[in-house]
C-alpha cells in the first residue's frame, strides 16, 4: 500500500506533457508554450514539455480535429505509454468552437480520443490551462490509488468490490 501511495504521488508530481495541435489557430498553442515561461513556470509542478510522445504522460490537445490530422492524432496517442491522460485545451478542442460547422472539421478531440479534462477558453489564459492540468493531476492520483485499493481488495480475496476503473 505504501508503494502504491508513492507511485500515485510520483505520477502526480512528475507529469510530462506532449503537445499536439490538431488544427487550431495557434493561439492556444502559444498559451500552452507560455505556461513554460518564467511568469507561469510549470516546472514548479514537475511538468516538462517532451518532444516525444513516448515520454509523455499527458497529451495536451489544442484545436479542432481536422479530417487530415485525425489519423496522426490517433497515432501519437497510441505511441504514449499507459497510463495516459488527455487535456483538451481551448473551445476548438472541446467541441470545434468557432469551427463547429466547417466541412473539414470533425469536431472536438473527444470525437476521436477519451478526454480527461476540458479547458474552455479561446484561448484559455495560461493560468486556466494550469488549473486544468492540476485537475488532471488529481485524477491521476485518485486513479492510481483506486487501482491500488482494487488490487488490495482482490488480493485479500474479498467478494465483490465496487470500484470504478477508468
Amino acid at each position: 500500500m505504501m508503494l502504491e501511495k508513492i507511485i500515485a504521488l510520483s505520477r502526480k508530481s512528475s507529469p510530462w506533457v506532449a503537445h499536439f495541435n490538431s488544427g487550431g489557430c495557434n493561439a492556444c498553442d502559444i498559451e500552452v508554450m507560455a505556461t513554460l515561461t518564467p511568469r507561469f513556470d510549470v516546472e514548479r509542478f514537475g511538468i516538462q514539455l517532451k518532444g516525444s510522445p513516448r515520454h509523455a504522460d499527458i497529451l495536451i490537445c489544442t484545436g479542432p480535429v481536422t479530417a487530415q490530422i485525425r489519423e496522426r492524432l490517433l497515432r501519437v496517442y497510441h505511441q504514449m505509454p499507459a497510463p495516459k491522460y488527455i487535456v483538451a485545451v481551448g473551445s476548438c478542442a472541446l467541441s470545434g468552437g468557432v469551427f463547429h460547422d466547417c466541412y473539414n472539421v470533425l469536431g472536438g478531440v473527444d470525437r476521436v480520443l477519451p478526454v480527461d479534462v476540458y479547458v474552455p477558453g479561446c484561448p484559455p489564459r495560461p493560468d486556466a490551462i494550469i488549473a486544468g492540468i492540476v485537475k488532471v493531476l488529481q485524477k491521476m492520483e485518485s486513479d492510481a490509488l483506486e487501482l491500488a485499493d482494487y488490487r488490495q481488495a482482490s488480493a485479500a480475496g474479498g467478494g465483490t468490490t465496487h470500484v470504478h476503473l477508468q
Binding site: 495541435n21 488544427g23 487550431g24 489557430c25 518564467p38
Partner: protein, 386 residues
C-alpha cells in the same frame, strides 16, 4: 552513414503546428525536402459563406491566433469598403495601436522561438517573459490576451480609457529598454549569432522573384511596407521608418524584427500622444450591399490580402485570404537545399511560420491507389453544400 529519411512533423518539437516535412538526408546534409501542408485546413473561407457578416469577423480572427488583429482588420476594411462605411478617426487610431502591439508581441514571440530552435532556451524564457508585458496591456484593453476581438465592421468594439493609456505608457517604457537589450546584447551573443549568420540566406533578387513579403523580404533588402506604400487605418498620418537589412540571412531577419519593435514603440507613442476624440464605431448594416473589395494589411509577417464579395445578403458571398506565411514558404523551400540538419528548425522558424493561415486544399492524393484529384472551388462548394 547511409541515406535516411527523417520526418519533421506533423507532431515535432520544433513545430508548434502540424505540418509535415520529409527530409532526405545524406549524412547531415539535406538532399531533398518534401513539404506536405494541409493538416490544419479547416475550410474557413467556405465556412464564412455560412456565417453572417458579424459572425464571420470572429471566424476570420481565428484563422490565426498570432495575427488575429491583422486578419480582422483586413477583413473589416474590405467589408467597410463595400458598404461605404466611414470608419471614425479614433477607431482607425485604435486599430493601428493594437496592430503595433500585435507586431511587438509577434516579434518577441519569434525571437524567443528562434532562441528555442537553436537550443538557447534562456533567450526563449527572457523574450517570452518580456512579451507578457505587452500581453497584459492587450488584455487590459481588449479583455483577452490573444484573440483580442477588437474589430467589428465599422470600427472597434472597445474604447481606450485614460487608465489604459497610462498603463500603456509604462509598458512602453519597459519594452523600450528590453528591445534595446535584445538588440545590443542578445543578438551579439556569438553562439547565437553563429547559428543565424549566413543561414537561410536569400538574395534580394530571389526575395523578389519568390514573392516574399514582410520581414523576410525586408531582411533581403526589398524595401516594401504596406503601412507606407498603401496606408490604411491611421498610418497615413503617422511618421515611422521602414526597417530593412541587406544580408537576407536569419541574422538580418532578426535585426529587422528587433528594429521593427522599436519602430512600433515609436508609433505607439505617437498614437497615444495624438489620439483623436470621437466615436469608435459607426453602425454597420446587417446586409452588406452587393460589391467586391480587396484589402491589404501589413501583418507582422508580411502582406495579408483579403478579397471579399457580397451579393447583398446577410452573409458573404466569397471570402479569399492570402496570408503572409504562404508567400514566404517558397523562400523556405529555396533556402533549404543543401543545408544541414541542425539548421532545419531555425530556417523553418526563420520566416516565422504559422501554417494555420497557409493550409489550403490543392490536391487530394489517395495514398493506396495514388489517384490524384484536384478540387476546384466549385467542386468544393458543391461537395460540401449544406
Amino acid at each position: 552513414m547511409s541515406d535516411m529519411e527523417i520526418p519533421v512533423g506533423p507532431q515535432h518539437p520544433a513545430l508548434k503546428e502540424p505540418e509535415s516535412f520529409r527530409f532526405e538526408l545524406e549524412g547531415e546534409i539535406v538532399k531533398s525536402v518534401d513539404i506536405r501542408l494541409g493538416y490544419v485546413h479547416r475550410g474557413i473561407e467556405r465556412a464564412c459563406q455560412d456565417r453572417t457578416w458579424i459572425q464571420a469577423v470572429y471566424l476570420i480572427e481565428r484563422i490565426c491566433g498570432i495575427c488575429s488583429h491583422s486578419h480582422t482588420t483586413c477583413f473589416c476594411q474590405a467589408v467597410e469598403d463595400i458598404a461605404g462605411l466611414e470608419v471614425p478617426r479614433r477607431a482607425r487610431y485604435i486599430r493601428s495601436l493594437i496592430g503595433e502591439m500585435e507586431r511587438i508581441h509577434s516579434h518577441l514571440l519569434w525571437l524567443g522561438l528562434a532562441g528555442h530552435e537553436v537550443g538557447f532556451d534562456t533567450l526563449f524564457m527572457y523574450a517570452w517573459r518580456d512579451r507578457e508585458v505587452i500581453l497584459d496591456a492587450l488584455e487590459a484593453i481588449s479583455g483577452n490576451r490573444v484573440n483580442y476581438g477588437m474589430n467589428t465592421i465599422g470600427g472597434v468594439r472597445r474604447d481606450l480609457s485614460d487608465r489604459d493609456v497610462e498603463e500603456l505608457r509604462s509598458a512602453i517604457r519597459i519594452l523600450e529598454e528590453r528591445a534595446g537589450y535584445y538588440t545590443d546584447i542578445a543578438l551579439e551573443e556569438s553562439t547565437f549569432r553563429g547559428r543565424l549568420e549566413g543561414v537561410g540566406k536569400i538574395t534580394k533578387q530571389q526575395a523578389i522573384d519568390l514573392g516574399t513579403v514582410g520581414p523576410t523580404a525586408r531582411a533581403a533588402g526589398v524595401n516594401v511596407d504596406l503601412r507606407r506604400d498603401d496606408p490604411y487605418a491611421a498610418y497615413g498620418e503617422i511618421p515611422f521608418n521602414v526597417v530593412t537589412a541587406e544580408d537576407g540571412d536569419l541574422l538580418a531577419a532578426a535585426q529587422v524584427r528587433l528594429g521593427e519593435i522599436r519602430e512600433s514603440i515609436r508609433i505607439m507613442k505617437y498614437i497615444l500622444d495624438n489620439l483623436p476624440d470621437g466615436p469608435i464605431a459607426v453602425k454597420a448594416p446587417r446586409r452588406i450591399p452587393p460589391g467586391e473589395a480587396c484589402s491589404r494589411y501589413e501583418a507582422p509577417r508580411g502582406e495579408d490580402i483579403h478579397y471579399v464579395r457580397s451579393s447583398g445578403g446577410d452573409k458573404p458571398d466569397r471570402v479569399k485570404v492570402r496570408a503572409p506565411t504562404l508567400a514566404n514558404l517558397n523562400a523556405v523551400a529555396e533556402s533549404m537545399k543543401g543545408v544541414r540538419v541542425a539548421d532545419i528548425p531555425i530556417i523553418i522558424a526563420g520566416i516565422d511560420p504559422c501554417f494555420s493561415c497557409t493550409d489550403r486544399l490543392v490536391r487530394l492524393q489517395d495514398r493506396t491507389s495514388g489517384r490524384v484529384e484536384v478540387l476546384r472551388w466549385q467542386d468544393l462548394s458543391r461537395r460540401y453544400r449544406r
